[in-house]
Each structure stands twice: as structure tokens, then as C-alpha cells.
Amino acid sequence: MAKKTFYDRVRDIDRRLIFLFIALSVAIPLIFHLYFPETPTPMTQAVFDKIEHLPAGSRILMDFSYDPASMPEIEPMATAWVRHCLLKKHKIYAIALWPVGPQLASDTFNAAVNFLRNLDPERRIVYGEDYVNLGFKSGAQGVINVLLTNLGTLYSTDINGANIADIPMMNGVVNLKSFDLIASISAGTPGTKELIQFGSVPAGVPLVAGTTSVFAPLLYPYYPAQMLGILGGLKSAAEYDALLFRKIKPQLQARLRLAPKLLQDEIAQLTGDRSLDPAAKRKLVAEKTAALRAVEKADPATLGDRRLMDLAGPVLGYTQKGISRMGPQAVAHLVIVLFIIIGNITYFIDKRRGRR
């Protein structure tokens, strides 16, 4: 048997080696916090502008129709939207056409509210007044059909079983026409397509969408007439993150200037708290102490965007999941492109040699 040349080895590359390259291309950027600059596309900008220019107090129906499988790609855009809407003092009404959607909505609300309270402690964000989770209903198009005429027929309680008549922000909400915007975050069917066909178009309410990069091309036919804009995949989520970061950067800097004092108070409070599990307490104190050291060394006014984001994470709970996850995706894309090039070079060499 003839000894394999380097060329033969490259041509017949073991797929486990490809797997290894992909694993490294994802792991390394995650470990080293690789961020890349993002320039918003017109579609992302259109979504941002719509939410930005709605008057405060606008009602936004947000559909959380995705699951944990698509969560890594979709969650960043859900988080960014909830943050943006609450920052602008819009009211968010969460529904879900997928059974696991309500839990994902709750997680997103909790994270966003936690960050916004850290950013502006004087801001009062209350469940039932600023946001509500109406939960999941089965029936897909049927649910949307009913929402179009009478929301109360299907949604008599929220996710916690509270009567919607007792929820202040439900006052005056009759059907889809009561909303100023529909924001659909979906990973497939039922989701954005059904909301456009059975909901936003008949009701005459504008709609923006966020979906996976695989599903986005199927929704482009609705842009821009029936859908004002779309966030397609992690790239768009990162672009939205970047837009939102630009908007809140002065607030982040101002808040981080006060951070040393706040962190010292938090550490003192944690240390004195006897109700906490000792191991969990040690971990929390160590995290806060590390954050304190980092904040003490830095001046938020002169920090670059990347350092500012890194610092705002542990101090204010400001996660930039779109931007931070885009690093691994970008590098993995490049590795795949590289393998496609190698595959084609070997193909043409073989073809010239008459092997194939």
C-alpha cells in the first residue's frame, strides 16, 4: 500500500478532524470574548426605529414562539427587544404559540428587568403594569383568529392564574387592534407567518419579526409591506445589540462610575446574609469582588466599547448575548468557508488528474 501524501490526507480528511476544528472555532472565541464590529442592515435598523419612535406607553404584543433548541439564536433578540421596549416605557403583552414559550418569556423578562433596575434604580418596572405574560394557547391559527376579534375569550388569566380583569395593563385591551405593534419572535410554525396572515394584516397593525437565520429567507416575501423589518439570526441580533448599546452607552458609563460604592455595599450585604448557602455565598462574593477590582481600575468615560460591555456584564447584569455569540459563529463560518475552498481545490486537482 502506497504511503499517503499530504495532499491525500487533506483530500480524505477525517471528519472527526473537521469536528475538532469546528469545536475549536466555537470554543476559542467564547473563552477569549472575541467581539466583532457590527453594522446594522436596513432591516434591523427598520425594526429598531419602529420601536424607538413609538410613543411611550404604546402597547406591544410580543409572541414568544420558540423553544430551547432555537434559544441560543433567538434569545438575544428577545432580550434586546424586551430591554428596548421597557426602556422606552412601552407595555409588553407576551403570548406564546409554542408550549415552552411562556417560560422563555419569563426568563427574558426577569433578566431584562434585573438589568434595567440596575441601570436606573429609580425606575419602577412592575409586572401587570409594564409587562404581562399571558401564556400558551394551543390552536395556532385558531388562536390568532380569536385574538383578532376578542382576546378575552381565550385569555381569561395570565400565566400565574391571575384574572386578566385584575391586571391593570389589560384595561382597554379588546383584540389585536388594541395594539400598536406586534413583535413576533418565532423559530418556525406556528409563528410569524401565521401572525401576518391571520393577525397583523387583517387587524391593520404593523408587525416586526425575529427568527432563526434558517427560517428568515421564508419570511422575506412579507418585507416591507406586511412586515416592517426582520431580525434574521444571530447576526441581526448582534446588530440590534450594537444599536441598543449606542443608545444606552452614556447611561452605562454614568452608572458604572457609581459602581464601586454599589458593589462594596452589595458585598457587605452578602457577607452578612446568613440565609444564603455558604458555597453560593462565597461564589457570589468572589464574583462581586472581582467586578469591584475591575471597576476600580477603570474609568468608564475612557473605556472602549468592548471593555465597557465586559465590565457592565458582572456589575449591572448587562449581557450582550447577540454580540458575544456572534464571535463564535463568525469564526465557525470562516472555518466552513475554508473547508469548502479546500474541498473544491482537491476536487479540481483530482479532476485534472482524471481520478473522478
Binding site: F19, P37, A69, M71, V100, T153, H333, Y347
Partner: protein
């Protein structure tokens, strides 16, 4: 006789009313349309029972007959019943089991956050490995069609990274349309859009045709049997 004519009659009445209520949303069609949608949502809830029953039946049979992969069926059944038990424990909270999903640290919460979520995400993430391997072996410029597909995929992949922007940033503004992110966007909103619209229109026409056949009782295969 009744087992066929009654469902056909129901389909006809509901189908006609829903079509009419879309174009004439006034009473009585508006209210009837809304009511039928609510009936549909209630019936759709029963699909969960049907799905659960079917899952148990199929996997019990696989385990009982020791068919290939019966161990996985066993795991499915155990997971199903444990989750179901904990879920139902929400009612009355027996033995101190808190089955409420929204309750931090409850058994249901742990199942969801610590098993279901990571397992689902892992399954989806595995795609990245297979996509990379398949791209290397299958994306070859073997003929004209494959070459067009390859170029489109190449531009989209690069256009979704910072490298796409960096590689063509030197192009003057008059040639901005040749910058890779713009090319990627053009592929998505022009050729892709045209193709998608054509497919959608075709599918819609097919749905209208099938729906009419169902409403008029011409298509009866949904009733089971040979439709006779």
C-alpha cells in the same frame, strides 16, 4: 353512513362560514367565525392527549416486543411519566412536590432548566458539526447549478461575518453594491425573494384547491379508509 356524512356536513358548514366571515365580518358571520375558531382551539387542546397516548402506545409496543432501539423507548417512557407525574403534582401539591414550572428550584423547573433546555440546545448545536462536514464533501462546483449554489452560499456565509465587510471595504462608494455584505443582502432580497414568492403563490393555490375539495366533500381521505 352517518360516520361519513356528518363530518362532511360539519366541514362544509364550518368551511363556508369561515370563508364568508373573512369577507363579511358582520353578524351573524363574524360571531360564528369567532365561535368556530374557539371550538378549533378547544379541539386542538385534545391533540395533546392524543399525542401523549400515541407516544405511550408506540413506545410500549417497542419495549414489549424488544424491537431494535427499545432501550431508547424505555428512556422516553420513563421521562414521559416522571415529567407527567411531577407536572400533575401541581394540583394539590402532594408529598411536597412542587410541580409549578415558574417556581424556582421546583422539580419541574429543574427538569426544564437542567435537562430539557440543555439537551434540546445540544441536539440543535450538533448541526454545526454535520453542516461543516457536509459542506466540505458536498459543496463542489461539479456543474453550473452546483456552481451557482456554491457561489451564493459562499457570499452569504462571508456576508454574515466581519470578514466579508473587511475584504471589500476598499471598494469605492460607486461600487458599494459589490461589497460582500451588500451582495449577501441582494441575494436574500432579490433572487431568494422571487423564488420564495413563486413557491408561496404555488403553495397558496394548492391550499385553496385542496380546501375547496375538502369543503365540497370531494376530498375525503381525511376521514380514513379509501374515501369511498
Amino acid at each position: 353512513m352517518l360516520t361519513r356524512s356528518v363530518p362532511i356536513l360539519i366541514t362544509f358548514v364550518v368551511g363556508v362560514v369561515l370563508v364568508v366571515s373573512f369577507f363579511i365580518p358582520h353578524q351573524p358571520f363574524g360571531k360564528l367565525g369567532e365561535d368556530f375558531s374557539v371550538f378549533f382551539d378547544i379541539i386542538a387542546s385534545f391533540a395533546f392527549f392524543l399525542g401523549g397516548g400515541n407516544l405511550v402506545r408506540i413506545h410500549l409496543e417497542t419495549v414489549g416486543k424488544r424491537k431494535p432501539g427499545w432501550g431508547y423507548s424505555g428512556i422516553t417512557l420513563v421521562s414521559f411519566f416522571v415529567t407527567l407525574f411531577i407536572g400533575f403534582s401541581k394540583i394539590g401539591n402532594p408529598w411536597g412536590i412542587q410541580g409549578d414550572l415558574s417556581e424556582y428550584g421546583s422539580p419541574f423547573y429543574v427538569i426544564y432548566e437542567s435537562i430539557f433546555t440543555p439537551a434540546s440546545a445540544t441536539m440543535y448545536a450538533l448541526l454545526a458539526f454535520y453542516v461543516a462536514s457536509a459542506s466540505y464533501r458536498a459543496f463542489r462546483a461539479k456543474n453550473l447549478e452546483a456552481t451557482v449554489l456554491l457561489i451564493a452560499a459562499f457570499v452569504i456565509l462571508l456576508g454574515r461575518t466581519f470578514v466579508g465587510a473587511v475584504l471589500t471595504a476598499w471598494l469605492p462608494d460607486s461600487l458599494a453594491f459589490l461589497r460582500i455584505p451588500n451582495l449577501a443582502n441582494w441575494i436574500l432580497v432579490t433572487p431568494n425573494l422571487s423564488g420564495q414568492r413563486a413557491i408561496m403563490i404555488g403553495i397558496s393555490l394548492g391550499i385553496i384547491s385542496t380546501s375547496l375539495k375538502l369543503i365540497l366533500g370531494i376530498e375525503r381521505s381525511y376521514l380514513g379508509g379509501d374515501g369511498e
